[in-house]
Symmetry: C2
Subunit: 361 residues, 2 copies
């Protein structure tokens, strides 16, 4: 079913994305007797679950009262093992092109190429990138006393630290820098800069921040960063912050941190000629097909009326997409719904020992 | 929010059906701060999972590689516990009527009455009933030597047993009666009657049956039961079986078993003025609303383009229905998607200890 020829991999189905929905897509394709190739830009399976919240508990996976992101992925990996998918990790898909023969040419940034009969995009929100702080002249200071990550505490001990951002990461960093470690190891001054006094953070984080601010342990400056100040040696020494009235002030600093969160980036997917709606792939809810027959989209990357970006919805979408993929691949096959509880055929596919089963309805 | 007044229960939401999807509906309503009343005709929660296949493994619940029907229900019961639903078990809902004030009057066969702002029907396939063998004069023999259930082995020892049916239950009974127990305790003759030689049963069951038939240990008669024979004392002694050519023959018997499987019966739901499509409730895939605003349908009871009767699809449907229910109940509330991983508010609703959480996107 799958052969490798002249470095081009022939495939019935290529799944783009190895997050939870991409993994469950493998399971549902397997039940349809389709073995999947799975491509992901990360070097491991799990997507956001492992990259962003591996140890945080998730409570809304049906019939799993609580599990961490990592546990969820481990459970899914176990579930799909019988279908032995072929993973291509650390590969970002750069192009998907429909050839004149109807096959899709799928190319990765590592030079791997597939000729696929069907493509299932389970790309989540694309890739995550740090939201940049765009101020003229600032970029050249990155890695010196300007950073997008929290430096080691020593680098901030008794220093004037300015944090730019209004998300949890920023407020949380301010609170921790003020509270953690021995007093002598803490910054001398901590200033949070954000455009206004309303934060995009959890209530508990905001409360902790405001309490320290009210007590005078943290400072807050409302406004946007519009410029930088440097010493005669070229060292970054301050930023200009312009408030909503247009008034600018300079905040001096020893260390500047921009913690403005991550922005999802759809990336190359946007260039594959698929219909987009608010930078999501538009699909129908019957087959989860995009506007191109043979290309499906499931999980956070797609949109349709009522769409909620929940993993459990992606599981449903992957299931209907698998039925539609089977119909696309095998137009003559009669595709029936079978139940894993009762179907001898599905038991064989799952690698279960053959036993006599009774079906009462 | 919920009060009891003059034996009428006021409710924001009534969920009809306590199967897996009805239970997960409680969870999703809970995340929307809606406490549910749940009504089920069975005396226990779990629906089909517990009634039909409590000990059979299920393999396609996402992130649950294997669990039995009973385990699935136990997991869901644990998951929804924080939302403390109010169960009304052993109650079959007989009527749902929209009053002039917009509330729904929900009445059970046990005389309980609800005034509900919203109704979520998670009724599965309705109720299961044994498929009857409709032959003139046969009904009066039920409970004597005609039965819809397998009698105790003693009642069939050295008897001529005729089984009518082509589903697993029938073939499986024939095989077991021939193979199990001491030879003297087995029937003297076993005849399976079904309209044709193609069975609606699992391959493994059919193989076992055909093997015994080929060896002469079981007999098979193709045709439909068109009449009965009785002795002068009024005892059932045989059935007339008419084949596809219209030729009839009499099969004599001591014991007659009709094992034709179960038929789902939509029951009273069909009479509530909701739009049906092939005896399923037609819903839209954005809100899972029926044609009556305020009445939603989720799980096996509903239908829409692409519908597959899978529990995991019901979980998705229940989730979108909960968002739509909240929008119906609280038109002024801004209903935002929050994540159980990061939302302090959802943690409070789930009864989790309050902790500071970071949200990085």
């Amino acid at each position: 079913m799958t052969t490798r020829d002249d470095d081009v991999i022939q495939a019935d189905s290529v799944v783009i994305g190895a997050g939870p929905v991409g993994l469950f897509q493998v399971f549902q394709l397997g039940l349809q007797e389709i073995r999947a190739h799975v491509i992901d830009s990360l070097p491991h399976v799990g997507g956001q679950c492992v990259e962003l919240y591996p140890d945080k508990p998730i409570y809304d996976i049906p019939a799993v009262p609580v599990c961490t992101g990592r546990e969820l992925i481990e459970r899914l990996a176990q579930q799909i093992a019988p279908f032995d998918p072929i993973f291509h990790l650390g590969h970002e898909v750069t192009t998907v092109e429909r050839q004149s023969d109807g096959l899709f040419s799928v190319q990765t940034n590592q030079g791997r190429r597939f000729l696929a009969k069907t493509v299932l995009i389970a790309g989540g929100v694309g890739s995550f990138q740090t939201r940049p702080l765009k101020v003229e002249g600032l970029a050249q200071h990155e890695g010196r006393n300007f950073s997008y990550r929290l430096p080691a505490p020593e680098a901030m001990a008794q220093k004037e630290v300015v944090i730019v951002g209004g998300v949890d990461a920023a407020l949380d960093a301010a609170v921790r820098l003020r509270q953690e470690g021995a007093p002598a190891q803490r910054p001398k001054r901590i200033v949070l800069v954000y455009r206004r006094d309303v934060f995009q953070a959890e209530a508990a984080t905001v409360t902790a921040f405001q309490r320290l601010r009210d007590a005078g342990h943290l400072e807050f400056v409302a406004g946007q960063v519009t410029g930088i100040e440097t010493s005669t040696e070229g060292q970054l020494t301050g930023i200009s912050v312009t408030d909503s009235n247009g008034d600018a002030r300079v905040v001096r600093l020893d260390v500047l941190l921009a913690l403005q969160g991550l922005i999802p980036k759809l990336g190359p997917i946007a260039d594959w000629g698929l219909t987009l709606d608010h930078r999501q792939l538009a699909v129908n809810t019957e087959t989860f097909s995009t506007n191109v027959p043979g290309i499906f989209a499931v999980g956070d990357v797609n949109t349709y009326p009522g769409k909620r970006k929940l993993i459990l919805s992606g599981f449903h979408e992957a299931t209907l997409a698998a039925f539609a993929t089977a119909a696309h691949l095998f137009p003559d096959r009669r595709i029936q719904l079978q139940y894993t509880t009762t179907s001898t055929k599905l038991h064989q596919l799952l690698g279960l020992p053959s036993v006599s089963h009774r079906r009462d309805h």
